[in-house]
Subunit: 346 residues, 2 copies
């Protein structure tokens, strides 16, 4: 890694070192709210966009540049890793992802194949190389993957879910099958994330987007050991952002699973979450994405209020608590990025 990259705002903050101002990036920053993204996306399907490295690189780089954020995040999706594991994945118009052959009973877990050859996902690593080549030298590139629980929920529910009845039922009634599935996912995710890092990512984020539906005891028993094993399997010099949304009571367990940076949502005050995590680690978040619908003076006040919670302490990476909404005005996202930089400048 170049010294310039090593001393970038984002990576310094991830190490809890002081920075000239608070680094910021936006979950789903390369997304449908951005006309530059839609121009590319209109020509191909969502899955094609994921699988064509030159297009994935283009939307990644453009979003980073248009917003002026302090990190780029690889354009990709949580679910394509399930394809080489034997799942039939489709993105249906307006319906979100569908898996046509979900796991419907414990005895089907045997058919799930851990990834043997990570080059099955070679298009992702090619995109990483293209992005890294064209990114400014002081901007880190983040890779990412779904956390094992979130991926298991898709594999079992066959798509999104309101109550995760099938996922939890397998967990509660067939803990052996559940562990087998989680082990296969962790092995595959570990290979996948390590290959992203080798291809040129400076940090990776693990998205446990749906773990908030769990009680602390169930998270500790059925999920946390697997997320922990995944994080421990990654190179220790690469910062891992361990992101979980939907349940602030899980933060102690989430933090205990590891990660140089703990990503949180807006359901908890950032200062309280950071006290729980401990100041020796960085914290990422945690503006309510709906704040971006505010008139700009209100948005600015809300940005200041959140920065106040961080008290200028080194190790805050500003972000939303979840992805930016598809109908957001790009101007408001740009304004947010500017407010963060301006209001936090030392």
């Amino acid at each position: 890694m170049t010294p310039e990259l090593h001393n970038s705002r984002f990576l310094k903050a991830a190490r809890c070192e002081p920075t000239d101002c608070t680094p910021v990036w936006i979950m789903r920053q390369a997304g449908r709210y951005l006309p530059e993204y839609m121009a590319v996306r209109s020509k191909v399907t969502f899955l094609e966009l994921c699988k064509r490295p030159e297009l994935a690189a283009e939307v990644t780089l453009t979003a980073r540049e248009v917003l002026g954020v302090d990190a780029a995040i690889l354009f990709a999706d949580l679910l394509p890793i399930l394809q080489p594991m034997g799942f039939d994945l489709e993105y249906q118009k307006g319906e979100g992802p569908v898996i046509h052959n979900p796991i419907t009973s414990a005895n089907e877990v045997g058919r799930v194949r851990p990834i043997e050859n990570v080059s099955d996902l070679g298009y992702v690593f090619e995109a990483v190389q293209l992005i890294r080549r064209d990114l400014p030298g002081n901007i880190p590139l983040l890779g990412f993957a779904g956390a094992p629980f979130t991926l298991a929920s898709y594999a079992i529910e066959g798509g999104g879910s309101k109550n995760y009845v099938r996922t939890k039922s397998m967990m509660f009634n067939d803990p052996g099958a559940w562990t087998e599935l989680m082990n296969k996912l962790v092995d595959s995710l570990s290979d996948y994330l390590r290959a992203q890092i080798e291809a040129g990512c400076q940090a990776v984020q693990i998205f446990d987007s749906w773990a908030g539906c769990l009680s602390p005891d169930d998270y500790d028993r059925y999920v946390q050991p697997h997320t922990k094993r995944l994080i421990e399997s990654l190179p220790s010099e690469t910062p891992v952002i361990n992101f979980l949304t939907g349940n602030p009571a899980l933060i102690p367990s989430q933090a205990a699973a590891g990660g140089r940076v703990i990503g949180i949502d807006w359901r908890v005050r950032l200062d309280e979450a950071w006290t729980t995590v401990g100041y020796e680690r960085a914290i990422q978040g945690n503006m309510d994405p709906v704040s971006l619908y505010c008139e700009l003076p209100v948005l600015k006040q809300r940005t200041q209020a959140l920065l106040n919670q961080a008290e200028g302490r080194p190790g805050h990476i500003f972000n939303l608590g979840h992805g930016v909404h598809p109908d957001m005005k790009p101007e408001n996202v740009k304004a947010l990025v500017n407010y963060v930089h301006e209001l936090s400048a030392k």
Copy 2:
């Protein structure tokens, strides 16, 4: 109130007095999972069932008796109170509730009418009288209403919502209009709940089913004062169950809003929540409703694990953390009620 009712398991627990075993009831206990309910429901629409006191009473009483729970809860819905306030409410098949004339901008709040004559909702109070007449003398009847935030979200979104963008946008951008709407709701809800109590309810539950989407600061600023005013307006001798789901980080603020009993969901350990609330108040909850899909020995273990968190302390009212699912087996719900009584017997 008769001494028998005053000394019922439920009301003793609500006062944090010791009981022979832990009282239990189930949110949405008179619901679609129950064949006895479906037999009545199949003859009328959902709204007719709410508005025909003899039918509402029948499903309330039958569910109480079939399950052997320690309280009956009035069969009604959160939303009909919005009709006399000027909203055009419909329950569409399989779609949930729809309000055809939601509030789409701040300047429409003026058209919302606080309830002037609570007898517009007379069918509810008639049902209360019929139920109370036929309930066993040691079983309290619970009334209920939506919390002001949850009702405001329906009035603004026009139905359910994923992200509450319109609701929060009004809150953030037009706090004056927001306060006006909340005031009208609190005034109406206060009259409505007091009339339920006068008609024969021994306790009432306030459902803040959707407040979990809020950050603690936004809850404190835009919601909590209104819920507090509602609770304070009710007769102090009637226990109020203040129920909120979806965000354990709100529990301190929820508890500060008042309520003899604090109702919580499964996202937090009951023992931790109770420590936060303080042992001078009762706690209600908090099994994950998905636990009811477990094989019975697993369900029994999970029931024991939850009772262990209460440590036999007086003031625990057992419940799920949210309503029972419509596809649940009635046998499992009955088994849960029996486990609670059996495992907690002194």
